[in-house]
Symmetry: C2
Subunit: 653 residues, 2 copies
């Protein structure tokens, strides 16, 4: 829902008839119309800050317009051309003549819809929008039940996306206003509060910033523009083999990347920031060539959660070379982080064989952003929950948490702390028992559990966060099981502290009676493999396949596809990497995701993707499921691709 | 400069006399006064979004006020109590009566300064500001040369910080307005454009978000509030030993953390977001107890760039326990990341013995935030530059970059690519020579260097990015040195590709003629040590030292201090960790940084800190400088601290 009302790079703000005659003291004053001005002005600033157009319509009537009472119409005379009443209020920021669309200019007929209007050069609203590639309209103004209504319905008929700002539109007639809102809703227009729009605009977490790039990308992009190299380039992203400590990867971060590409823009503000940091070679004139640059290319990618192997392309970008170059660092960074984490998390999921897994690593993740995406990627790979509140808010990851050692330390003794905590937090109650001595803590927890049960509060879990988890979990389990009380026997054991897939597997193999694992630092930093060898390589320019040669590392030229063969019951058999236009048995894994800079489909649901990952993990061959490195999965290169590679290797230039 | 005009958590917006009589058609209309309304309304929204107060003054004159012409004054009658002219414009958002301060209410004398006004309950502006702990005023309104001027000058006299919004204030008389601006400047008021204020408010990179916390911190904080545990807690952050693969740490991230703490606030918006993610136990009523919570505590920390060892406290937070608990994850995350990177980077600096080092790792850093702070932390530790453009913009890190393989691949051949690149980018020209074959590339680069020299363009460096850097750098150096041309012999060699301190040392030890190293992935993810064992532990509550017991890991209770002994020429001799109030020989390293939630000094300059780090590295004992792990530095625990620890270990509860 959040995503549906975002200000996209092809959005415009469309203000309907915010004219003096519709404001207090005007000829046709709409009730409360002055209340919308503050919000409208704020939104004008918001759009201008983003270098997105602010458009306005206006009634622009001849003195004896057919709609006037005096001419047999239904309205008092209003908005007569060049009158004060037809003007915008003095406090409204100025708009270019080109962005103001006048309607009802002919004596004979009335026009309620902004789409009947035209600007001073005589261009219609529709033509203006299409020629500026604007697809989404945020609509506010007067009156909701007349001109706003007709404009919105026309916009929808013509295929524009509409977000009606319901706090910034006022109607004349209450019943008609309700009816108008219904009609607009049925037409597919979204409605939203303008404060929400501005909040979302600012609060979307870590949209990867356009300026988080390597300096040479700016140099390259400016040079491409200056030397008129504007042909389409195809870049592919893949993880170079061998994978080391991993038998497979889970492709992740693709939806995050598509979000970034949709909003990527070198704004005025960005150029200004760059100019201030200016150094020889990056003068304002050169940087100006990048002003307003957006990503208008195509993206093919595997769906998020797809299992992949070394050297298989995760995605392909096809765009004018300057654009494809400028996004290089963002593409690698976004996909690398989440793919690395999801791949590690999937190993934990396999090791835990169905036991509950909770991501706990935010504090030692490499920044808040890394922690957020670690929570997202590990949930995608099959984790059950996270302690990261922001991941709950933004990605709907289920949240989980217990209590702190400091809470226990701050109380007179452990029993007091348990009791006080339980009374205030009776739901889903887990007690942390290792602050002073784990077995003593377990005993005290059992005593308190009895007292609490009388109050109808039940302890659900005990958490161990240090020490020898194998022996401690066995002892604690014994303590719990020895009690007569069913509600004590039902208490589960949660373990955490330096866990990873190897340790989880060892604990389970050795019979540790642990019901849930909290996995933190080692997951969030992927400690045994804190980076993958992800690379973003040019594979084609201007229709000609390209290849970088490298001693010891073989790269593959041309636009490629992965063809995956599976058994009828879904087990993975083998992959072939071939050229994109080859016809080879198997399912092509790279799918079109974005065309001319716009997503082809709504974002894939994280929850659905997670379900698919769990099924895919199940269907992996056993030797690939293993934590140890066994024989690699059967991935071959097609003859045609091999032949192309050999040909270019022989004469690369 | 940026930091000086930020909207801090103790800021208020103060609107001066934005009344109908001063607007067009008013009795005392100020020229262009209507132009400020849009910007003022936007700023009102900005402050309200942050739950910061919007205050207004107004002239509120009796009918026969002494300042009127009719009474011998200098102004036409204006702003008469309860008249339309004294009202705020209808489009202005409503303000609470408590936030409107009326002045000039007595017939006898005029009052220009808002500080002479009082609100409806009869409270003066100054009392209001002090009782709400507001220290910074953003001032806009009318007229700049009269009431704005007097209000600003009074505010400065009373010690408030003032940012005058020069685009949102208009004067009556031009000369007086210029004079007013001069006086305000001399008084110490800052002036700024309101768009800049709003831009900064949104653009400050990665202010660690208040909601990036672990769920249990919310639980703890709510429980503390509910059970009225409001005493002061002292938490200390340290890195548990042994350090593994490190002989010392460079403390970093402290300024970033202070930025975060100054702006930390649980706003209305945050609470709303939490409520939407609500689950049993986190109902709105409970969450409401955290609304408006800010960090009002004290911080002691070592200055950024200080060399530290295992178990030495990097900082101490002293605050009401709920506040100290809520920031736990942020404190650990911010300090951990930058300290880890700075510590790794310092090893590279030692290994490179004066050769130039450039940070290149953004693409495989764990997110854009991690990359930004890796650039900052490595520069702090002595690196010379970074490729990360955002680090240049926000932290003033010098930028450096070369060219891409894809640039060469996209051209017909390497020579064409070199030529085209050099002509467009003649400054600081480095050519990448390993796209097809490094030695061939070096040859072609020499040829092109001659052609370019005729045009006055000189190649400064050749970059190797793959292959055996030792033998290739030797071969390339030979090729260059064999040429007759001085400008070719002067070309330097830049190497990159899987570098870290070990590889840099090996290359230098084996005589690789490399002048500059680009260090990327392995630095940005601290690959041999992708996390430190940083912990944030309660050491005192309500004046009583506290201790968590842990099998195998010894922790130290109480508020502590590090006392460092050095020789007269600055060589480090030994450290003692003692209790904060002990008197022990040596310099106390933890210094007061923040009091009641406010910085005690301006942020420490990154460039100065870097100079200090370079000097400190120089002054390290040789066995600590070594990359291998030798005998640890001499750190002892004071007798008094040991005694306290033993006493609590014996009876912790």
């Amino acid at each position: 829902m959040l995503d549906d009302i975002r200000i996209t790079p092809d959005s415009a703000l469309l203000l309907i008839d915010i004219q003096n005659d519709f404001l207090p003291d005007g000829a046709l004053a709409v009730r409360d119309s002055e209340k919308i001005l503050g919000g409208v002005f704020s939104l004008i600033e918001e759009f201008r800050d983003r270098r997105l157009p602010v458009l306005a319509t206006r009634d622009w009537h001849p003195a004896e317009h057919a709609s006037f009472l005096s001419q047999g119409g239904i309205w008092p005379a209003h908005c007569i051309q060049n009158s004060k009443g037809a003007g915008f209020p003095p406090s409204m920021p100025n708009l270019d003549a080109e962005k103001v669309f006048s309607k009802g200019r002919e004596r004979e007929f009335d026009q309620y819809s902004g789409f009947d209007g035209q600007n001073e050069p005589g261009v219609s609203l529709e033509t203006y929008l299409r020629s500026h590639r604007l697809k989404r309209l945020f609509v506010a103004g007067l009156a909701l039940d007349v001109c706003v209504r007709h404009t919105v319905l026309d916009a929808r008929k013509k295929g524009f996306e509409v977000v009606l700002l319901n706090d910034l539109s006022k109607g004349i007639n209450e019943r008609e206003t309700r009816r108008a809102l219904d009609e607009m809703k049925i037409s597919g227009a979204a409605t939203a509060d303008s404060r929400e729009i501005r909040r979302i605009a600012r609060e979307i977490p870590w949209r990867f910033p356009a300026l988080a790039l390597d300096l040479y990308e700016l140099t390259m992009a400016m040079t491409y523009v200056e030397t008129e190299m504007i042909e389409t380039a195809a870049f592919e992203l893949f993880s170079r083999g061998p994978l080391k400590s991993r038998n497979f990867l889970i492709a992740a971060g693709i939806e995050t990347l598509l979000d970034f590409l949709e909003s990527f823009c070198f704004t005025e503000e960005h150029i200004d920031l760059l100019c201030r940091t200016c150094q020889p070679g990056f003068e304002t004139d050169r940087l100006n060539s990048l002003r307003g640059l957006r990503f208008m290319g195509d993206v093919l990618a595997v769906p998020e959660g797809t299992i992949l192997f070394a050297d298989e392309p995760i995605l392909r970008i096809e765009a004018p070379i300057a654009q494809a170059q400028l996004i290089e660092t963002a593409v690698v960074n976004i996909i690398h982080l989440q793919t690395m984490i999801a791949s590690k998390a999937a190993r934990c999921v396999l090791a835990a064989s169905g036991r509950r897994l909770i991501e706990f690593g935010l504090r030692r993740a490499h920044g808040a952003e890394a922690g957020l995406f670690a929570a997202r990627a590990s949930y995608l790979a099959g984790f059950d929950a996270s302690s990261n509140v922001l991941a709950g808010i933004y990605f709907g990851v289920p949240l989980s948490g217990t209590m702190a050692h400091s809470f226990i330390q701050a109380h007179e003794n452990e029993t007091d702390a348990f009791f006080s905590f339980a009374v205030q937090n009776p739901d889903d109650l887990t007690l942390l028992i290792d602050t002073y001595d784990t077995l003593g803590g377990a005993g005290r927890a059992c005593e308190i559990a009895r007292v609490l049960a009388e109050k109808g509060i039940y302890v659900k879990g005990l958490r161990l966060d240090s020490g020898d988890l194998l022996s401690l979990s066995k002892e604690v389990r014994k303590t719990l099981d020895m009690k007569q009380d069913k509600f004590i026997q039902a208490i589960q054991i949660v373990a955490s502290g330096n866990l990873d897939e190897y340790e989880i597997k060892r604990l389970i193999d050795e019979g540790a009676p642990i019901d849930a694992f909290g996995v933190g630092t080692r997951l969030d930093v992927s400690s045994d493999r804190p980076h993958l060898d992800c690379a973003y390589k040019l594979v084609e320019y201007a229709g000609v396949p390209r290849l970088k040669l490298s001693a010891g590392k073989r790269l593959l030229p041309g636009r490629k596809q992965i063809f995956r063969r599976t058994t009828s019951d879904g087990r993975m058999l083998s992959d072939v990497i071939g050229l994109a236009d080859e016809s080879i048995d198997g399912e092509p894994l790279l799918k079109p995701m974005m065309k001319h800079g716009r997503r082809l489909n709504p974002p894939r649901s994280l929850h659905h993707a997670r379900q698919d990952v769990l099924r895919s993990l199940e269907a992996l061959p056993d030797e690939i499921k293993s934590l140890a490195q066994r024989a690699p999965f059967d991935v071959t290169i097609s003859d045609e691709l091999n032949e192309l590679a050999r040909r270019i290797e022989r004469s690369p230039m």
